[in-house]
């Protein structure tokens, strides 16, 4: 399987193939400037000294053209980066970027590749100056520093976040090309923070507090109202993602996380929680993030991200190069709990097989599924459907559209079909 544009091997020789006929002293593939520099440096200080000076990526280590067992490698670095051969990247628009699901393994999204969505840019916030205000229907309005929030009992949890607009263009029919373009607004991280309920009990809820307005300190001062009885059990105020402080585009230094809810409720750059009696009807819960139905009514506070799955390989834009074994791989998730089962079809939904689920299978978290397939070189239509622990089954496109029409834009979770032709090209369809 290669990309549509057939990413070529960075190496002349097959990687990992043992060979003694590539002496380390000749470097035919090296750029001349570097070779000249290296030769000069070598004669001056000797190889070891030059190596120290020119670390981290040098000579064979820089372009991988030689035998890595014959030349010292790069030195230790303070903050690691990926191999220069790796190119997976987010697909960006000014206010959003999409995760390259087709390039990832397992369930955790690298922080640098976690999708982003913001409503007026990513603010630059000094954590020493950041404050969280908790006020409204509370006994004591409180102001917290980040250091104080980090002192509370902590909790870490692997949770997916999906934008409710993920796959939204597909309401109108198959539009996107790649799995990244269509479904890349979902990612999973391990999030660490303090329970919302812990912080709220510190302020003391007063009777009548039923909703909470959460506000970000970005240029959109993004706000959402959330029903306390539904979010108190699970919501976290997070300061860390995958073991380190949040990425700026994920809300550094503090974000709300409501597991299973549409992404925009997980207010980033969180600066204020106001306890109120009823929803504030902000622009983001009236004009946006409401689902227009065919009869002209609109559904409001459609928080849960319903069960969904997608095959990430083979997927749109890729090509099967050879007949024979293919491991069908994908991700499944549900905002209502655990993934119970994923079924896969290679004939457009006529026959289904149960996929293997890779451990761990966690509630409200991406779950990796795999299935063995031997491609015979003929046409195929690959599909997957997720069944979650509530018994809900991911719907076929026509079943979803029959109920909701094609104007709701948000919360599209229908079965994705990938068409494969005899040449092995994979297309959305």
């Amino acid at each position: 399987m290669t990309d549509k544009d057939g990413k070529s091997m960075p190496n002349e020789r097959e990687p990992g193939v043992p060979s003694r006929d590539a002496p380390v002293t000749t470097r035919p593939k090296e750029p001349p400037t570097r070779r000249a520099f290296l030769t000069g440096a070598t004669s001056l200080f000797g190889a070891a000294a030059a190596h120290v000076l020119l670390a981290p990526f040098l000579g064979h280590a820089a372009n991988g053209s030689g035998d890595p067992t014959r030349v010292p490698g790069a030195l230790a670095t303070e903050y690691g980066r990926r191999s220069p051969f790796e190119r997976a990247k987010r697909l960006t628009k000014p206010q959003r970027s999409r995760t390259p699901l087709q390039d990832l393994h397992g369930i955790v999204t690298p922080s640098a590749l976690h999708f982003e969505r913001h409503h007026n840019g990513v603010p630059l916030i000094d954590p020493a100056k950041h404050r969280l205000l908790v006020h409204g229907l509370v006994e004591r309005p409180l102001l917290f520093t980040l250091a104080e929030l980090k002192r509370f009992p902590s909790i870490s949890r692997l949770v997916f976040i999906e934008c409710s607009g993920n796959s939204g263009k597909e309401w109108k029919g198959p539009k996107g090309k790649t799995v990244q373009e269509i479904h890349g607004l979902t990612s999973t991280s391990e999030w660490t923070g303090v329970r919302l309920s812990t912080v709220l009990s510190e302020a003391g809820l007063t009777p009548g507090a039923a909703w909470m307005l959460a506000e970000g300190s970005d240029a959109a001062a993004m706000t959402r109202s959330l029903p306390l009885n539904r979010v108190l059990d699970e919501a976290l105020l997070c300061y860390a993602q995958n073991g380190e402080p949040l990425r700026p585009e994920q809300g550094y230094p503090l974000r709300l996380l409501v597991p299973g809810y549409e992404g925009n409720t997980c207010i980033k750059w969180l600066r204020r929680l106001k306890l109120v009696a009823s929803p504030m009807m902000t622009r983001e819960e009236t004009s946006k993030y409401t689902d227009l139905m065919p009869d002209g009514t609109a559904r409001q506070f459609t928080f849960d991200m319903e069960a969904k799955s997608v095959i990430t390989a083979p997927s749109g834009g890729q090509r099967l190069k050879k007949t024979g074994y293919v491991e069908i791989r994908g991700l499944a998730w549900s905002g209502r709990g655990r993934v119970e089962k994923v079924e896969v079809s290679v004939d457009g939904g006529k026959n289904w097989r149960t996929a293997r689920l890779q451990a761990p299978v966690l509630p409200k978290c991406h779950t990796r599924f795999c299935l063995d397939w031997w491609w015979d070189g003929g046409k195929a239509v690959l599909q997957s459907r997720c069944i979650d622990e509530t018994g809900y089954r991911q719907p076929a496109r026509q079943d979803l559209v029959e109920v909701r029409g094609t104007n709701s834009y948000y919360h599209y979770n229908a079965i994705q079909s990938w068409q494969i032709d005899e040449a092995g090209n994979v297309r959305n369809g």
């Binding site: 409503h119 205000l133 908790v134 409180l142 506000e215 009807m281 002209g296 506070f301």
Partner: protein, 193 residues
Amino acid sequence: MDRWERARVRGRSLLLLLFVILAAGPADVWGGSKDALFHLGRVATPEEIQAWDIDVAPDGEGLPAGRGTVEAGERVYAGHCAGCHGGTGVEGPSPKLVGGQGTLASAHPVKTVGSYWPYATTLFDYIYRAMPFVAPQSLTPDQVYAVTAWILFQNGLLDKDVVLDRETLPKVRMPHRTGFVPDPRPDVNRPGS
């Protein structure tokens, strides 16, 4: 008391002491109690709260003092908004603010303040916190009342001579006010169906 008797008594009191230490231990060693507050954070002053408390509720709670007319709003709009939203609020490129009434149930719904928004207070709240896009929170309450009035007027939802303020704004009736319904999902493939 013989030697053994004394040893037994001593043993018993040692056991008792151990029991007391064990029973009281966690509280003494770890301090606090399960129900106590953590005493983190400090009480916010009214000034600190006021500085950030900019939200406006549908009943008008939170609206600042101030007032604005359609006429004044026309000038605010031309100077601060028209460049992105178009001269009359429909040209764009940024979202259409005007029109679309009666289109929501059609194949090509046009969602605008006039056709879709359930509350006029939301318009004030949003402009006050987030617009103009390049300079959010730069307008005075008077300017926001005025431009709000102008957008409502353009949508046919306000008479030209009404002055908008914290009393009159919440009374503006929006056409789609009763058009929102609660989430009925799961609505497709219900478990057990």
